[in-house]
């Protein structure tokens, strides 16, 4: 499946864009992270990063739908 991703902060800089499309072999959040890390190895150097689906933090086993709003959330640092 093809998923559109929003990216912020250092993830946006790693991707070189605030939004990218990625083709996934599987359909879970864990599959997405696996594919992303293969394409963008710099993600693995981050302290951590999370995936948000429809404005909620998502666990690895969440199944993605093509209509979901998916975002990559590098370590937050507000305040």
């Amino acid at each position: 499946m093809k998923i559109k991703l929003l990216a912020f902060g250092i993830a946006r800089e790693i991707f070189g864009a605030s939004s990218i499309e990625i083709e996934l072999p599987g359909n879970t959040v864990a599959d997405l992270k696996f594919s992303l890390e293969a394409l963008y190895p710099k993600l693995k150097a981050l302290a951590s990063y999370l995936v948000a689906v429809n404005n909620e933090y998502a666990a690895g086993d969440l199944v993605l739908d093509i209509r979901d709003e998916v975002a990559i959330i590098p370590p937050v640092s507000g305040g």
């Binding site: 912020f8 250092i10 800089e13 959330i73 370590p75 640092s77 507000g78």
Partner: protein
Amino acid sequence: MNQALEVQACIDWVMTPESGGIDVFIGTVRNATKGKQVIRLEFEAYEPMASKEMEKIAAQAFEKWPVQKLLVHHRVGVLEVGEIPVIIAVSCAHRDAAFEACRFVIDTLKQTVPIWKKEVFEDGETWVAAHP
């Protein structure tokens, strides 16, 4: 999230006739981090999710403490030294709850709300907390 934060207006907004104590936390842009001079900060947010996460934190504070009114504002964009990226104001009948709820909100905001801060130095820039 783009407008300057007016402290007085925030306090007026949380004050009620039932309030006995208001605690206000004001984050300000510091001129240095780990001894290195900071020129400015750049804040970026995933705005719809940031709003949702801030509402969740507020709801948790209302559950945990007898809060009367609670306000949390966070700015995005470029902020210079002395400017205010974040303000939290909490009114309660008694002061202990106001202090505790206010501290809970800023502590949790820093852990969960999708907002990112880039520190800009003379000779480079860093996304805060990005790397171990």
